[in-house]
Amino acid sequence: MRRDHTRSSQANPLPGFGITLGFTVLYLSVLVLIPIAVLSLKALSLSWPQLWHLATNARALAAYRLSLGASFAAALLNAAFGSLLAWVLVRYRFPGRRLLDGLVDFPFALPTAVAGLTLASLFSDNGWLGRFLVPIGIQGQSSRLGVVLALTFVGLPFSVRTLQPLLENLDKGVEEASAILGAGRLRTFVSVIAPTLLPAVLTGFGLAFARGLGEYGSIVFISGNLPFHTEIAPTLVVMRLESGGFDYTGAIGVALVLLIFSFTLLFTLNWLQGWSSKFQRP
């Protein structure tokens, strides 16, 4: 927990509160809040049946289903492999550990368009992985699997980096106590370590899931963008915008639904992080 200096003295002698807060609120309003409000107002200015049709027609529903499903699958994969990576990085010492630790951030630093480009080529028919996978029926390019693969790649750092600090601060005394009381290593892991890690794993899952729902850059390259099949919701927004010419209404319905998803996730994650920080020691 951070030290709470701020309440100790009554009058805060530090200058600049008014101007920095004012600038913060102004900048935030111009760049973020007003644009969000404009999108919402534009959506609400449409007639209700029209908005409903734009947001829930069959093509849009298929896109939401794929976006939610693929993000969920990718977040699940990340929870599994991310936990494995975090555990191995924190608990073991082995040659190449630092390289592995650095590699974890790679998807975060790499522009998503480049990630999509290289993953699409790896899993294509004559790509380094595709030439082995395609003959046995695993089609990573232009498929739903491709969407999951790309989302897993982009979301991986979130689950590792959420879990890592918690693992580092874990009190080993508890594990020893469990061992002294006669529990085997597996039992200790399942009933002592795992429950402590669960909130952080869930937070990482949520962050990866949220990232997946909004992702566009990497998917464009790998998924093939087939309506009803491999078209995710953000792609549909772009398609509607491009086919509409100067008529933006087609894109608004899907965008509004995506915005509602984002808000719901943001508040859920805030709550989750508050919950998981209770488990962290100072």
């Binding site: 200096h5 701020t6 805060n12 530090l14 200058p15 920095t20 807060l21 913060t24 900048y27 760049l31 973020v32 809040l33 644009p35 969000i36 404009v38 999108l39 492999f81 494995l84 990576l85 191995v88 073991y92 082995f94 190449g96 592995l100 951030d105 790679f106 998807p107 630093a109 790499l110 522009p111 998503t112 368009a113 480049v114 480009l117 290289t118 080529s121 790896l122 790509g127 380094w128 897993t152 594990e175 020893e176 002294i180 529990a183 290593r185 200790t188 909004g214 992702e215 566009y216 850059g217 464009v220 953000p234 792609t235 927004v237 915008l241 100067f246 933006y248 608004i252 984002s262 805030n270």
Partner: protein, 290 residues
């Protein structure tokens, strides 16, 4: 570890109970390593292998193409405008949030996080709705001879939106941890507000600030979704590097060309990671004597 054990308990719990069996340990390390090699390292190597698949000359021809040069210049221009503005915002926001108590702080923090969870495509659409030809301000802008959408200002705005939280998010926890005792001491000793900020507050957060800046910059130069919505993809005109990668990919005629551009962005990513590692090492070394 130094807890007193009851006398009847063994001196130290058996090794097997506080550590995994070596076989399990090396199995886990192997699995993690294999996953990272296939899923993280291979995509990186693949970028360079594909880029040079048509030879060094082909690679060089793509890079010195005038569309590429224009894209590099535009990408740098966008970063040079958007990153400093977000730095000013980040420092101001961190100062207000970390050093003062006020109502609505939690709400403000949530709002600052918003761009992280809004899809970049939706962000781009928001600016089209505001400034596009049929947008809210479209007619006014047209009457005054200004274009934002399908032009550089639109790209800058969209980039600023998606990179908005990076610096603030990095600085706020560091500044909160430091409290304000040092600033109060400086003010008591007669320093002015600006002097206190420049000589006391800023130096103590410099590594965090630098880290926020390089993350913000990496995202600004690599953003694709938001930028693709607000730009018209006309070659050499309003295409940043990631947009050019897409254009060359759709073109099919030179399969190595998009990868040649991608190597530049991959090098930027590697550079960012290198600086990050260095900064972490540096700030840990400075904290140690304390």
């Amino acid at each position: 570890m130094n807890l007193p054990h009851p006398p009847t308990a063994p001196e130290r719990p058996a090794q097997s109970s506080t550590q995994e069996h070596p076989v399990v340990k090396w199995l886990l390390i192997g699995l993690a390593g294999l996953f990272a090699a296939l899923f993280l390292l291979l995509p990186l190597i693949n970028i360079f292998a594909q880029a040079f698949s048509s030879g060094l000359a082909g690679y060089w021809n793509t890079l010195k193409d005038q569309n590429t040069v224009a894209a590099i210049r535009l990408t740098l221009l966008v970063a040079v405008i958007s990153v400093p503005l977000n730095v000013v915002f980040g420092v101001a926001a961190a100062w207000a949030i970390a050093k003062f108590e006020f109502r609505g702080k939690a709400v403000l923090l949530t709002f600052i996080d918003l761009p992280f969870s809004v899809s970049p495509v939706v962000a781009g659409l928001m600016f089209v709705l505001l400034f596009g030809a049929n947008g809210l301000l479209g007619h006014w802008l047209e009457a005054h001879g200004m274009t934002i959408i399908f032009a550089v200002p639109g790209i800058v705005l969209a980039t600023m939106f998606v990179t908005f939280p990076f610096v603030a998010r990095e600085l706020i926890p560091i500044m909160q941890d430091q409290g304000r005792e040092q600033e109060e001491a400086a003010l008591t000793l007669g320093a002015s507000g600006w002097q206190t900020f420049w000589h006391v507050s800023l130096p103590s957060v410099k590594w965090g600030l630098f880290y926020g800046v390089i993350l913000c910059n990496a995202r600004a130069m690599g953003e694709y979704g938001a930028v693709s919505v607000v730009s018209s993809k006309i070659a050499g005109k309003t295409g940043t590097l990631p947009l050019c990668v897409q254009k060359l990919y759709d073109d099919f005629s030179h399969p190595a060309a998009p990868f040649a551009l991608a190597t530049l962005l991959a090098l930027l990513a590697l550079l960012t990671l290198g600086i990050k590692t260095y900064l972490e090492w540096k700030s840990r070394r400075e904290q140690e004597p304390l």
